[in-house]
């Protein structure tokens, strides 16, 4: 799924190191740094609503990034990502409340705990693949969900678990503005880590397994090790995302982490583009904005005379669900390579303007 190279003329690479940089050109690097700086200044001019959306994008984005490492780069299928996300949320709240571990430590620890659980459920991946693996992870989704409902000591049972806000050196990150920086920091760190992972030996092994696992095995890549590792890394990301979610909301309850959430994560990476880190973010933004846009649309419709149909206004929750289903189907039929591919084509169009096709 490599996109067309956008290198300027005369930019020749003479070593592997030059060929393997995170950013393709120095201009792209500058733009990325500028984007991070703009995002840092965002709380100055954005109001609470948009900040909430940004925070949502960052914790969902971290989890979706993990799923893309598993699905997009290693070619495994997981239908249990929502449960791992929930496990991270509960684990962090539990570590914090039961052992008095400070929150900024309990978040990474929750990530490692989720990694352990993910690798445990990823064990069948050593033997099975494709749709058998999909069904195995589906089973793990239901088993973990059942565990949440049952393990009162861990999840607080039906009443849910309280999660304290993050504190660092006496400063409490409990407002949207302050938590925004935590979320942004986590997202950028995890993004850079994912980019670097894909440039490393392990990342290349993942891609080799995805492209042709028999050839990869013949070339000396240990299939079991890397499949399991991929499961572990993906659950680690899910755990970190979930933990951030828990400490942002301050409260975790088991109802949210259903199969529907796992499907939404899969939808994000399919819409964004499998095997593309940039695409993952685009997909997450798309999926976060979709319900908001629908809500605004229905709100606008409500104001006009002919739009106040009770069926539409009352059925908003169902319309949102239907829209998610339709978007998944639509993207798979009409844009199977996702938004990242489309973005590349648009860039291509402007770059080679008169001669583009």
């Amino acid at each position: 799924m490599s996109s067309l190279s956008m290198r300027p003329c005369g930019d020749f690479r003479t070593s592997y190191q030059q060929d393997n940089t995170i950013f393709e050109t120095s201009q792209i690097r500058l733009m990325a740094i500028a984007a991070v700086l703009v995002l840092c200044a965002a709380p100055l001019f954005l109001d609470g609503y948009f900040l909430t959306l940004c925070i949502q994008v960052s914790y969902l984005g971290i989890a979706a990034l993990g799923l893309n490492i598993l699905v997009g780069y290693t070619g495994q299928i997981s239908l249990g990502h929502g449960a791992f996300f929930g496990f991270g949320a509960f684990a962090s709240a539990w570590l914090n409340s039961s052992f008095q571990i400070p929150v900024f430590l309990s978040i990474p620890l929750a990530g490692f705990m989720t990694m352990g659980v993910g690798m445990m459920f990823g064990l069948p991946a050593a033997r099975i693949k494709g749709l058998y693996l999909a069904i195995a992870t589906l089973a793990s989704q239901f088993i973990i969900e059942d565990f949440f409902a049952r393990a009162d000591w861990f999840s607080g049972g039906p009443s849910g678990a309280a999660a304290e806000p993050i504190t660092l050196l006496g400063y409490v990150f409990d407002t949207d503005q302050s938590f925004y920086y935590v979320a942004l920091f986590a997202l950028v760190t995890m993004l850079v880590w994912a980019c670097n992972l894909m440039r490393s030996r392990d990342g290349r092994a993942f891609v080799a397994i995805r492209d042709h696992y028999l050839s990869a095995e013949i070339m000396g890549i240990k299939l079991n090790k890397y499949r399991l590792l991929s499961f572990g890394i993906s659950s680690f990301y899910a755990g970190i995302g979930g933990a951030l979610y828990a400490h942002y909301l301050g409260y975790v309850s088991a109802e949210g982490f259903t199969i529907f959430m796992s499907i939404q994560f899969l939808a994000m990476i399919i819409i964004g583009g499998l095997g593309s880190i940039k695409g993952t973010l685009m997909g997450v933004v798309f999926m976060v904005l979709l319900p908001e846009v629908l809500e605004t649309g229905v709100g606008v419709l409500k104001m006009t005379d002919w739009g106040n149909i009770p069926l539409v206004v009352d059925g908003l929750a169902y319309i949102k669900e239907m829209a998610i289903g339709l978007v998944i189907i639509g993207f798979l039929i009409f844009e199977p390579q996702g938004l990242a591919h489309r973005w590349g084509q648009i860039k291509n169009y402007w770059k080679f303007y008169p001669f583009s096709y």
Binding site: P124, R127, G130, F142, I143, R150, I270, M322, G325
Partner: protein
């Protein structure tokens, strides 16, 4: 040890297991002939049950007429679904195919909730007496009917695949698509037909279940509970689906029995099949009757 409860639960398990077997058969049929894993199987049950309910309640048709109408509708629905949504997916990677059926499942589940609401509705009375007594056990009339229907469907499947021309074409396509195509079998029609049959037969199961428990969106859970059954039997074996369905049906009732009598963990009825599923995938991924996937380099 409560023997009366145990026998009752085992009989229930057999009856429900036969229904799992029927749903599993549809699943295997679609998988075998089109290589699509149908995550929207449960929604077929749901749509069938709601359509039949609407025909009986809103149109006030007699049961048999409404039922036949439902079957016709579902056959057309299955064929159209294959033509519009699944046909562009031929040759796509497995994740795309899985995701498109998941997308369909979300869409139709929400659509049904939107149209018919979330509260369960019960069917109008079809039989005069609710339950009959067989060998000292109370068996609900609808359950008895479901068993008969399940057995009839299984027999019909057997005869269809063994003797009819279309059944032969479908078996040939499942065996080798390219050879079948070169011998003049329209693979496109076979694909559409297998979706049509799967939708129709699932809808029958949906109507039967709806008559017992009432129609609500919890019917679509059946589409997920059928996975343990088909994996146990082997994904591409129709006999395996029936055997797996019966085993899982009995097993979940036994788990419920052990749990309610001794363990008191709760919710075992729903979750035990998934533990079984993981164990099967771990030790015997191709199930009891499935063909082993052998790859050549």
């Amino acid at each position: 040890m409560n023997f009366e409860l145990l026998t009752q639960l085992i009989v229930n398990g057999l009856i429900v297991g036969l229904l799992y077997g029927v749903i599993g058969m549809c699943f295997v049929l679609v998988y075998k002939s089109t290589k699509v894993v149908n995550f929207a199987q449960g929604e077929f049950l749901l749509i069938g049950a709601w359509v039949c309910w609407a025909a009986l309640v809103y149109l006030e048709l007699p049961f048999l007429l409404g039922f036949i109408l439902t079957l016709c509708f579902m056959a057309a629905f299955g064929v159209l679904l294959q033509m519009i949504v699944l046909r562009p997916m031929i040759g796509e990677p497995i994740i795309s195919v899985i995701m498109i059926t998941i997308g369909l499942s979300i869409f139709f589940q929400a659509l049904m909730k939107w149209i018919f609401g979330v509260s369960p509705q019960s069917y109008p009375q079809v039989f005069d007496n609710q339950s009959v007594n067989i060998l000292g056990l109370n068996v609900e009339m609808a359950y008895l009917m479901s068993t008969v229907i399940a057995l009839v469907i299984m027999l019909a499947f057997y005869l269809f695949f063994k003797y009819s021309k279309h059944g032969l074409a479908m078996r040939a396509t499942a065996f080798d698509q390219q050879v079948a195509q070169s011998l003049g079998i329209s693979v496109k029609n076979v694909f559409a037909m297998s979706w049509g049959i799967a939708a129709t037969v699932s809808a029958t199961a949906g109507v039967v279940l709806g008559m017992v428990n009432g129609v609500s969106d919890s019917l679509s859970i059946m589409g997920i509970k059928v996975f343990p059954a088909v994996i146990l039997g082997g994904l591409d074996s129709i006999i395996g689906a029936i055997v797996g369905g019966v085993i899982i049906g009995v097993l979940e009732n036994l788990a419920e029995f052990v749990d309610s009598q001794y363990l008191h963990i709760g919710n075992m009825y729903d979750i035990a099949p998934f533990y079984v599923l993981l164990v099967i995938l771990w030790f015997k991924p191709y199930g009891l009757f499935g063909t082993k996937d052998i790859e050549r380099i």
